[in-house]
Symmetry: C2
Amino acid sequence: MELDERKIKILTAVIKTYLETGEPVGSRTISKYTDLSLSSATIRNEMADLEEMGYILQPHTSSGRIPTDKGYRFYVDSLMETKEREIEDMKEVVLEKADQLSEVLKQAAKLLASNTNYAAMVSTPEIHRNKLKFIQLSKVDESSILAVIVVEGNIIKNKMIHTEAPLDDDTILKLNLLLNTHLNGLSLEKINLGLITLLKEKAGIHTDVVSSVIDAVADAIRADENLEIYTSGANNIFKYPELADNEMASDIINTFEEKKQLEKMVTERLMEDGSEKNGIQVYIGSEAPVPAMKDCSVVTATYELGEGMRGTVGIIGPKRMDYEKVMGTIKKLMDQLDMIYRNT
Amino acid sequence: MELDERKIKILTAVIKTYLETGEPVGSRTISKYTDLSLSSATIRNEMADLEEMGYILQPHTSSGRIPTDKGYRFYVDSLMETKEREIEDMKEVVLEKADQLSEVLKQAAKLLASNTNYAAMVSTPEIHRNKLKFIQLSKVDESSILAVIVVEGNIIKNKMIHTEAPLDDDTILKLNLLLNTHLNGLSLEKINLGLITLLKEKAGIHTDVVSSVIDAVADAIRADENLEIYTSGANNIFKYPELADNEMASDIINTFEEKKQLEKMVTERLMEDGSEKNGIQVYIGSEAPVPAMKDCSVVTATYELGEGMRGTVGIIGPKRMDYEKVMGTIKKLMDQLDMIYRNT
DNA sequence: ATTAGCACTCAGTCAATCCGAGTGCTAATA
DNA sequence: TATTAGCACTCGGATTGACTGAGTGCTAAT
């Protein structure tokens, strides 16, 4: 059996109606569907076929149908192919500029959540490819110096380094000069073993400090250590009865709070199938790499702030989420993030 | 009518039993209570009195009694007076040392939540009284310089300052020297108008930069801007049916996520009555300054890391929380925070 | 190939009923 | 006088059964 034109129409109708109402949809409802003039009986036959093919199912014998994950997947994929509907309104279209990137991202999460009525997350960008802008060592007290590391995009990392013996100001100045002349403008990949050895040599007796600093730089820049995820609107899940169930809600909230789990979704990049377009990725139910999300859908998208600075935004909601709206909203947000970056 | 010995015993028995079971407790249950040898009938009479006095109530006619807020209050107050029971086990007693204070605090929140099975929050310390350790200006690119501000306790703040005209390295060096010689070791209060004027004079044509830096310092150090609250174990509330109700849970989760609300409890210091002891403060139900907490109890405590660095930890759970355990656990945690600070 | 019609299924709702834990009150008791 | 035993009563919660209505599958007619 295959999906002919009419089956597709019926399937789409079922899904759309279900997205709106959240209740199993019956044959009579569909038969009233405008551009389909078929009796409920015919619809029933077709629906029986669709069920056999695995696109829809009955929660219990003789109730209406609801989409299966496969059904949603079909729907979402076909959505991806048609060019996107414009999202008319984004309540507060403005992401205010803030000099801290983290503030912007927090705001973005809030914006997503309040516009969609789902839960939202935004990860800080990975800065793998980023170039070191400069390093500054400063003596803080007798046994510790502070390394401030700035990478392109004005992302700032602080790292305390404890030293055995106190260093005098002059030495620190020299080390600063040394590090900056050699490391400035380099991306992480370019800081290789040869360079490190060279630096250590030049540092003379202070080779241990240099080594600490380089560790610190690597450590500070290493993406997984830096990854932060801002969330917002977790309580939105209570708006959807199918998620508001105690156990489920507890799991979801926990996932949201722990963030370790969210990282998986943010990190994982599935580019294989057609569902990836415009950088938007949709996970339906158990497609998500996180078991707690098995009754949710997750829509993620990758944003890019200049060369190599890639982060992820995501929306988490019930399977019957308004995919069109969500994708539209995310796209709008991406544009804004882009603009913000350009103006900085 | 007044609370005689026996009434106190009965009241305590009712509350303790209710804390364990979470179900209304009847007269027969209490009459079996070991050190009280009274018939259920007598207990009933006493309970009627206690109800009249407002310490307990019946959720519905002819059910057992549960404590009112007033009842809890009595119980908690009397707990405060008796010297604390030792908390025997704290699952993971170790707060690992981390060079970032924020990491320690996050861990602390996690620890509290997992040990008590309630939700926990930990605020970053206010650094009002803290002394400036040093300031470092560095040129980042043509139009911006980075101010790194370190205060005692090794709390680090970064602030980007945009300048109209580019500054040359020499000027920055001079400004650094100027700022550090004059501001080093000062607490925020000591940075007054006179000093600021003096600095501006000395800065010559770069008065605007100095002024920006000082703004930045004030801004960076200002407590309310810096206040962060780490939370953990929000999903624990689902373990208590009286909080797991949808609307309530949604409110609580929201409060937890928004943090604005939590700030109120962290900021507010009620020292008036006897319930404040060891810095521990208990809010029962609507005593808390946050409406969403009306069916919860909140136990907060103030920790101090050296001179003037005060933060708050808090536990949020159902009214029938195990107050003894919570207070004990919090106290243990305080000790640990103390130790961590001393060793740094 | 489509449709009308019919018998059937099943979740959800409502009322009736029962059960048991618990109370308040009264009368008896120490 | 304080305590207790006993009894009638209350009320929430669980159980049951009847009923409804939305929906189905199947068959026979179009």
